[in-house]
């Protein structure tokens, strides 16, 4: 079975989403940027007042780098679930696409690129807030943008897999409550992973968000070293490839049988 996507086809799918998104820019801005910015300011300034420093940096900076990663995860995941499901099911957008030379792998790849673009959009928003708060001191922090794209791609595949097996929107509650939220709480967004029991560490290293947070924190903050950037990139890339193939297989099974 052929899984190689056609870049022109995936680009057409991406452009279609971009065209729609331009109409829905303001609500998207509130969702993808406003919400994480509120978390950052509320928790960072509020809790930060009591916590002071964490892992050698101000709590605000620590949290900002974590939220950069988690908001990329959330943005890509929600786009890959609710929006992709809407296009696959009720709106029949994919049925219309499959009446053209586009194939399932082109659609899935285009959607993953789009999820990644939205993740980057959200990351840029947080980045601007962090910049305004004086948390970013080095131009190398701009690497967070390609990192956000990689994180977006890594979370897009699993989210599209969920869409492919979902029978209704409520199904996504399982993925959000049983996987995304626990991951958000143990992957080092709000406190260092080191503070968790040592026995958990190898398991946490399987989670994409652990690597996303490590990568973002090291790239954004001068005072935090990048300990194992290539491992971070490798694990996230595995999720990208695994997600793409399984998502393509599942969407094909749903739409073409």
């Amino acid at each position: 079975m052929n899984f190689t996507p056609n870049l022109r086809g995936a680009g057409a799918v991406f452009s279609r989403n971009l065209l729609v998104w331009r109409r829905l820019f303001w609500p998207a801005l509130v969702m993808n940027f406003g919400e994480p910015a509120l978390y950052l300011l509320g928790l960072g300034l509020g809790l930060g007042h009591f916590i002071g420093e964490m892992d050698g940096v101000s709590y605000l900076a620590f949290l900002a780098s974590g939220i950069l990663a988690s908001s990329a995860m959330n943005t890509a995941s929600f786009e890959g679930m609710y929006s992709v499901y809407t296009r696959m099911g009720p709106q029949k957008t994919y049925d219309a696409m499959l009446a053209t030379p586009l194939r399932v792998q082109d659609i899935v790849f285009g959607e993953m690129l789009w999820c990644a673009a939205k993740a980057a959009f959200s990351a840029v928003g947080i980045f601007i807030v962090a910049l305004a708060l004086g948390l970013i001191t080095s131009p190398s922090a701009l690497w967070v943008v390609p990192a956000a794209i990689l994180i977006g791609l890594a979370f897009a595949g699993p989210a599209i897999m969920m869409s492919a097996i979902a029978r209704n929107y409520d199904f996504f509650n399982y993925y959000v409550v049983l996987l995304l939220t626990p991951m958000l709480l143990v992957s080092g967004v709000f406190y260092p992973v080191d503070s968790l029991p040592a026995g958990l560490r190898p398991w946490l290293d399987l989670l994409p968000l652990t690597h996303a947070v490590e990568l973002m924190r090291g790239l954004m903050l001068e005072d935090v070293a990048l300990l194992r950037p290539w491992s971070n990139i490798a694990v996230l890339s595995l999720y990208v490839f695994f997600g793409f193939y399984v998502a393509t297989w599942l969407v094909r099974r749903r739409l073409l049988e």
Partner: protein
């Protein structure tokens, strides 16, 4: 206008559709294995309007989905426009226009954006695209709706936009799944005239329908199918001549007193549909005389309707007349 959509001069001699022994079976959790399409043979020549008729659940939509490559056949061979399916489905779909049963226009986009985005899925060059899209809008009678959102269109307009969208790649074969279901009479006539225009330009049309007047009016050739098999194939006139007597006399509300009319059996074929009796006959004058002769024995005078036999009668005779449930 004639040069923009159709491919009136095709030198290719392969048929538009050639299916041999096409089968599709489904596995159900409760029903076990069901056969949707059963050893179907189909040959659609180029340049004609070809109809696929059958009751609900006859396997029409499944057949179409296999033709479009969105459902793999369980067995059998299939060639579209000389290309093998599945396998060449990308090449095939580049030459195909599809008007699906349920509208799947992009509700997030305007009329013109729907066309432009669809063109991008085919990878059509941007050069001269706007002029081409304007022609399609004019063809669909939607020029003044160019910037409107799809949601604001009427059912007939949406259908016409779907047809215009299906023509964006100047297809050699246009496949329409129940193109006028749910439309009002005016919208149906408008759509029919567009389809006739396309046919005149040499585009092959393949359509499914429940409407016998639609099939009789548009189709040069058609097959009647049921239970996944072809029951018969021919032109509407040939099918009528082959399967039913030329005249039908309907006796309204006579089903309850059918025994009074039993003696008419020798004049033609007497059948019951719903609350009426239908007498299919070669000699309607003789039949009418006989019915009038019966009148004094009846409680109420019979209400009679006479008409030439049509495709609907063929359809009912071939597919039986039990009520279909579901699909």
């Amino acid at each position: 206008m004639s040069h923009c959509f159709g491919r009136s001069t095709t030198t290719d001699s392969t048929p538009a559709v050639l299916a041999r022994g096409l089968c599709k079976t489904f596995k159900h959790k409760t029903l076990g294995e069901t056969v949707a399409v059963d050893r179907l043979d189909l040959c659609v020549p180029r340049g004609v309007c070809f109809g696929l008729l059958g009751p609900n659940g006859a396997g029409k939509t499944t057949t179409l989905r296999m033709l479009l490559g969105t459902m793999p056949p369980s067995s059998g061979s299939l060639e579209i426009l000389g290309l093998t399916m599945p396998g060449d489905e990308c090449l095939v779909r580049a030459k195909l226009g599809i008007v699906p049963q349920a509208d799947n226009l992009d509700p997030d986009l305007s009329v013109i954006q729907n066309l432009r985005v669809y063109a991008s899925f085919f990878g059509l060059p941007h050069q001269n695209l706007d002029a081409h899209l304007d022609q399609l809008l004019a063809f669909a009678n939607l020029t003044d709706r160019r910037e409107h959102q799809v949601e604001s269109l009427s059912g007939g307009m949406k259908r016409r936009l779907t047809l215009a969208r299906a023509l964006i790649n100047a297809p050699e074969l246009v496949v329409l799944d129940e193109p006028t279901t749910g439309l009002d009479p005016q919208a149906r006539h408008t759509l029919w005239s567009r389809l006739e225009e396309l046919k005149a330009q040499g585009t092959t049309l393949l359509l499914t329908t429940h409407y016998m007047d639609e099939a009789e009016r548009l189709c040069d050739e058609l097959v009647v199918m049921d239970h996944g098999r072809v029951l018969d194939q021919g032109s509407p006139q040939a099918l009528i001549a082959r399967h039913v007597e030329p005249w039908v006399i309907e006796i309204r509300h006579a089903a309850a007193v059918a025994q009074h009319y039993a003696c008419l059996d020798g004049v033609g074929k007497l059948e019951q549909h719903g609350s009426s009796l239908f007498l299919y006959t070669h000699d309607r004058h003789h039949a009418l005389t006989r019915i009038e002769a019966l009148a004094p024995t009846l409680v109420a005078p019979p209400i009679l309707l006479q008409r030439p036999a049509g495709l609907e009668d063929v359809f009912l005779r071939l597919t039986g007349r039990d009520l279909r449930e579901g699909a």
